[in-house]
Symmetry: D2
Subunit: 347 residues, 4 copies
């Protein structure tokens, strides 16, 4: 059994790790930390775990964490970078669900997250944990930066086109997320009475997932002649629901000889967690609720140059905890789908 630790396990991504790991056949959660809730059983915060996960929160302690084979950081941005170097030294593997190791450039980090990076020298070592792009590097990685929720949905949707260098001009990503993406923090803006029965955009001037997506798309296009040079516009919106992300991506593909459906199906044929829907489909976020799947479809409306890609994930699963477990499975040599087989919850 793999011994797993979770740092900062009181938020929704931490709780989701617990839910999924509770039935993972080869992993045992041996430690979960929370400064604020230390001493309290996890099932007191999350009664749904009663009888399924009988562990209590403890104070963060590097020596205790060092007894784990792998540690997940489900902390706010800017926390993991202070502890990760010590854990790596002790041979512990790390998956960081926050943004600390997502951007390879420390200056980008500072610009978008507002503080100096605590260990810029590790940025080169960290592997960006999108298995559909980087599976081989993840296999041998000791430190994996788990992608953001929006970037996961957007990048998977654009991957086949970017790799082939088919995109010309600007890329527009109009993305929509359920409210759990805003976390479990007590704030007026996330109250039911403030967000239900309403819809809005936010962060139009600039959202932190923009540089992460730009970096990812750039890497996809690196081997193509037409490396992406247009504008990248990313507009996130808040949907009155708990879980789910829907990315609607607009690109111009002037080569009409491409069979887009075949391109997508071939690219993802062997991917256990990416499902290309039949031509003409419109994926619903509920078709991936509670599971690690990404479902997508590709359209060329009215036969024009503009191609529209629709991709959906559960932001807490493929967009966070599920992808983190997928990465753990790869890093630890387990079956990649272990613990992630349950179908979506419908309705």
């Amino acid at each position: 059994m793999i011994k797993a630790g979770i740092v900062g396990g009181t938020g929704y991504t931490g709780a989701e790790l617990l839910r999924l790991l509770a039935v993972h056949p080869e992993v045992e959660v041996t430690v979960i930390t929370s400064r604020k809730e230390a001493g309290k059983p996890v099932s007191e915060l999350y009664p749904g775990l009663r009888g399924k996960m009988d562990i209590a929160y403890s104070q963060p302690d590097d020596d205790v964490l060092a007894t784990c084979d792998l540690v997940f950081f489900a902390t706010p941005n800017g926390i993991a970078m202070n502890s990760v170097p010590k854990l790596l030294e002790k041979g512990v593997k790390v998956v960081d669900l926050a943004a600390d190791f997502r951007l390879s450039n420390a200056e980008d980090w500072k610009q978008w997250y507002g503080i100096d990076h605590a260990c810029p020298e590790m940025l080169a070592e960290a592997v960006y944990g999108l298995p559909e792009m980087n599976r081989e590097q993840i296999q041998s990685a000791q430190l994996v930066a788990n992608p953001g929720c929006y970037p996961t949905a957007a990048q998977l949707g654009l991957l086949p086109l970017m790799e082939k260098g088919l995109v010309e001009g600007n890329i527009i990503i109009d993305a929509k997320s359920g409210v759990s993406g805003a976390g479990r923090e007590a704030k007026v803006a996330s109250l039911l009475c403030e967000v239900s029965e309403s819809f809005k955009a936010y962060g139009v001037p600039g959202h932190r997932h923009l540089p992460e997506i730009r970096q990812g798309l750039g890497r996809m296009a690196v081997n193509t002649a037409g490396a992406f040079g247009g504008e990248l516009v990313f507009v996130p919106h808040l949907v009155p629901m708990i879980r789910g992300i829907h990315a609607t991506s607009y690109v111009s593909v002037k080569d009409h000889s491409i069979d887009l459906q075949a391109l997508y199906e071939n690219r993802f044929r062997d991917e256990p967690f990416v499902d290309v829907l039949p031509a003409g489909s419109h994926p619903e976020t509920r078709s991936v609720k509670s599971c690690n799947q990404c479902r997508l479809s590709v359209h060329r409306p009215q036969g024009g140059d503009t191609v529209v890609i629709l991709s959906v994930i559960d932001n807490l699963v493929k967009g966070a905890a599920g992808q983190a477990i997928q990465n753990m499975n790869i890093m630890c040599g387990l079956n990649e789908t272990a613990g992630l087989e349950a179908p979506a919850l419908m309705p």
Copy 2:
């Protein structure tokens, strides 16, 4: 592997059977029928099952169903009673998720369901599938009548008090259900625009689950001196959410020497799917979302005679498909919790 069949698998309880059986370690779904959708893969109706359950609906055919070890009927009321006798003859076990075999009295059936019963002689043979009451009979049953959703929540909440004959006077059950209880039928009354952002009672003059609850409470009290003789009032309400039932039950317990908390904890200590919360708790329906648990708490407000029991289930799981699988596990000699171990989905 147990070969399981599902008759009428297009509704929500049928889909829930598929979701749960998709990861059941000892069961294989070999046939699923639907007159209307015959030929269509189940994943076309329920894309969340893509890659998890690769079976298609077929026309109902008794010979094909007879190849199963056990058949679930997830049909509307009044359908199963026409086919069950033939299947039983052929040695197939049956769990009926509809109401056909819940009432032991054929006249009650006719009064509440409006048609003559097709096989009244089988009513005595059918076992009422509430394992917490009838586990032993279920073990040897060939035909199990899976309880209604409201009756499951209400009866589990009252069981410890009724068995001991502690209840005096009337019993009031004020119950609340999510909208999935109304099924997947196209009707104006179940449209999002008609039921979201609203709350209402329905069926106050008389609801079909009333005689089922009355019968169950009567059986619980059968060995007590004070067999229940008061009024039973049952008022269901519709909650603007997909899943969940909350029963708030009010009874008079004039004996104040009883330690209610201990009574409940002792009664359910060995029940894998009933969880008595600590004294003073208020169970939330989301603490059982997607899982087979019933959680409950017992209160004596202001130290009066009135005892209030709060009990919650997921109407599609412990209130339907999950309990059906629990019954199947018992009938087939499997581990009772097989396939039902996943924790609740939160948030």
Copy 3:
């Protein structure tokens, strides 16, 4: 034009006063206070008011408030009692939407609200602002205690029976409220991800609206022989929706010669804001969304002794701001329905 002031206008009841008064033909809001938001236009917090209500929050100032004809307190409990005496002295009328003047007994106040009352001598002077009970006293009142949301729904539902002394034994009020009843405070328990898609009871051991309801029912029964002496059990629940209260009340009426429907219709025939639905009806909370109506129906299920009353209101309108304006209209000699004529918002 009546000059109205609002103290503490940043919460939902304050905002609702603004929404309704913005189109009241005979009232002008001349001052609205908030320590925290002083200087900010109300439309910055509530963009729905842009162009409709061009006033800014100001620091609370008794001299400024004294320029008003009437002041609404939309403050948390325990605030109004410190300022009201001064305003009354200056001849200003007051409607307090909080609980400060609802209980006539200062010891009850202390027991349920945890602090000494600042002006117990005024409790006798304050009129309980349920117009359907106390219209005449409200006409000449200078200080009106606006009823709580649950008490409004529950008391209107029971009024005809209590006045006639028809109720025997216990009274059970199973009440359900939308989330706006919890206010606009930043707390985890009111986040969309915590309350949507879930349902729960709360406050079963004792809720502050219990003594208010008990006091009200006692007053209704004061002229009857059988003044109410049974237990009063009140269990509130949280519904995943923004607005609305549904009270389901259970009482025993052993006299079966009473025509309940006629009793209710006669009692409320002249009440502009109470609507008795046809026999057999089930009122929905959405039928009163955004308007000052109470709709109710009365049932005697299965012809038993137990009578079930279903009553619905919008907790922010008839349960708070709308009833406050109704009281203002009565106190100021305006048409009682002025500014409150708009129908419910459906869907």
Copy 4:
């Protein structure tokens, strides 16, 4: 008093007309028709209207309708075109809330709506009822085609840029609507259990509002040198809420010398129902819930060429019944805002 008739008043737009006209100071609804519900009071279908609108549905009858000053058609597409010519002949004014008279080209109608137009000769006469574009023509019109919900939100957002010929290249409109846009028809796809807690795109290959938007944008640009010649891509999405439309429009404006905020504020300064938010704002759909307002903001993210316009309306008000009443006000010489002054419902 204007005598108004409503044809087909059982759906959500019909009900919304009733809600708004119930408090319109200068209009009386004298007839409302429904083949299916003839004889039934409107308040039986919509209990929120009890006591506010005491009219019953009647069978459609041209002679009765001819007694009205103005008739609203709230019918499905393809109905009004059969009756309108007769009413116009009799001097009755007509506002059609369906699509019958929106496209000026009868062939476009046939292509998108699948049937021949019954009175193509009237298409030239009908005025497209977007008052912000066509106020003068509406004043003298006898027949007004009320715009679609998506087209209203999208066109108002793009109007200032299109009129000035500032847009180069493609236009992408990513639009999101609440579920009431799908109407009150009994269909599985609109059930709460199918659409709540989910989000999806639909109609990507081609939606009927696409030609309407294209026609409108073309007319706006007609006086500019750079009349719009790029691709128009329109992708609608379904949001799990009752009311509201949010259009996110992406265009390329290469001239960076333009002060976009000033352009928008100046263009809409005198428009009573268009509200340009301060720079940097993100309008929420709830800020226009139940009212006739359009609120919008304009962004140039990261200082690039791409301009993003966010515009919100209530699909049943400014997107349907409210705009129809606004058009009626203009056609009948009433104050344009009569009956439309109430602020948004929040929360």
